[in-house]
Symmetry: C2
Subunit: 319 residues, 2 copies
């Protein structure tokens, strides 16, 4: 019936996904406290912020300072996002950043132009440069993200073949540079995915590159994120990006807000896995605490549900 993994790993995106879309610059100390709470829950990777244009994303401008403010926990990777070489160099120059060599592909020109200022083909060629940059810096090639893998708000449906083309490029590049194959992350950047599309896409990538580890970066834009996670689990996926409390969007906007919609919710998805008997290595109570802290910092209700309902209270059964 399915190929459920025995254990899964959640990579926390909330501190970046959640705060990059805000207009307010929340106090650095509170954001550091949130990151510490997340690491304390058992999460092994937390994305702290972005080294991107401070003009484009003013709330990420103090990412280097934020790295300096965190009390680190051993065994946890504190990562950052960058979208160009200059960003990587800033990240590399910042003490405390755990550099994960990541490649970023786009399936459509329109989204790539908007996010990265070039065509998808140009971006792809740039990834060869990024990979060499990582090689020179001694940073292992870790992840290859394929953004808008399931659809794009500007260009609509995305043919599977476009995603597979990027996967082939990654495989060839890694072989050429004699670097290990990175994890292939299928990203449903704007929430177009559905369980059947996820099943088909993962199946096709696995068929093409059976040795690849596949991860997903899913958004709960249209309320089916949990089902998409289940579909990925059933295809054996054991690596998920997620955001505490479902951070990353404003679900209360009255108007179409598709780009800003939040990631799948870390604690809700970890709860699901644990209930299904899949190990997460996470302390759900600690995650709920972190989620409530996130809500307190943001100052409005967040979309996570477990944080509001609480864990089921298991008692000895009355017979």
């Amino acid at each position: 019936m399915s190929d459920l993994p025995r254990s899964v790993e959640f990579h926390e995106e909330g501190p970046r996904e959640g705060f990059q879309i805000e207009r307010t610059l929340y106090p650095l100390g509170r954001r550091a406290a949130l990151i510490e709470a997340l690491a304390a829950s058992g999460l092994k990777q937390v994305q702290v912020g972005s080294f991107v244009s401070p003009k484009a994303v003013p709330t990420m401008a103090d990412t280097a300072d934020l790295f300096g403010a965190i009390r680190k926990r051993e065994g946890v990777r504190y990562t950052a996002l960058w979208l160009n070489e200059a960003g990587f160099r800033r990240a590399a120059a910042t003490p405390g950043v755990d550099l994960d060599g990541k490649l970023i592909f786009y399936t459509t020109d329109a989204f790539c132009q908007k996010n990265n200022g070039c065509s998808a083909a140009e971006q792809r060629e740039r990834q060869a440069t990024w990979a060499r940059l990582y090689l020179d810096a001694g940073v292992p090639l870790d992840k290859a993200y394929i953004l808008t893998a399931f659809g794009c708000n500007f260009e609509g449906d995305v043919p599977l073949e476009r995603v597979l083309d990027d996967v082939r490029f990654v495989v060839d590049l890694a072989a050429e540079l004699k670097m290990p194959l990175p994890v292939i992350y299928l990203a449903d950047t704007v929430g177009w995915g559905n369980p059947e599309a996820i099943r088909r896409m993962i199946g096709a990538v696995r068929e093409l590159v059976p040795e690849a580890r596949i991860g997903t970066h899913l958004h709960d834009t249209r309320g089916i994120g949990a089902a998409n996670v289940l579909a990925a689990l059933q295809m054996g996926v054991s690596l998920f990006d997620s955001s505490i409390a479902g951070l990353g969007g404003c679900p209360f906007a009255k108007h179409a807000n598709v780009q800003g919609a939040g990631n799948i919710c870390t604690e809700d998805m970890a709860f699901m896995c644990e209930e299904m008997g899949i190990e997460t290595g996470l302390d759900l109570e600690a995650l709920i605490e972190a989620a409530l802290l996130a809500e307190d910092i943001i100052g409005r209700p967040l979309s996570g549900k477990l944080m509001h309902a609480g864990l089921p209270k298991r008692k000895p059964l009355s017979v």
Copy 2:
């Protein structure tokens, strides 16, 4: 891999589930307009309200008047809830109520006491009386709900065997009265279900009574409702209770609010099915309109996501 149905039916619970938990009595005309909007979207069954104690649930006290206010649409069943014989008699005496002969079972005494004022065993015996009442009134036996089938806030985990006992009781009762077997509804009343539990439970019920049609009544208490729906779909379930905009709970309560948490969201789940190629017979744009109307009536943000994100905008692909 799975036994997905070709088409599914959603039974709308929002007008009852959503408004019964409110302290405010919202204007009757607006509630009637919501019901009309729901019926206009293609939904074939809408639960309008409850014939229960007006002291216990004051916002359902005007259910008979609400039935009188709705402009009916042909082919739509306008149903109501009752929890005892007196309630059924009031429903039967109210013009315009489509009577669906329903039985209600509880898996735990504590929840049954709280909801129905008797033990689960007493409630079960009462169901034999209810069935005879329906027979006498010429009302077909339509549904048998097994509440808290996946767990209970008061008694904890519920053994599968308790659910199967109720199913056996229903089968025997229907045979004894020479009434057709009703749909067996497995209700995750307080949001304890997970995809694996749902798979196991549906499998066990189907093994016991292969001829039974199974429906689910799921709540999205802990953010995994969509995954639970997917698990049920994969087991071939094609009947779902749901609530427009995810009505039925206040996701913004800071404190544990497990009993009040909303149903799975009609339009989000219908969207998922349609995207997966499963027919719903529903007009998603019309459902979104109804969801926005529900939000406008309630006057605070509701948890449905598609209503805020909008449908994906499909465009011809640029090649």
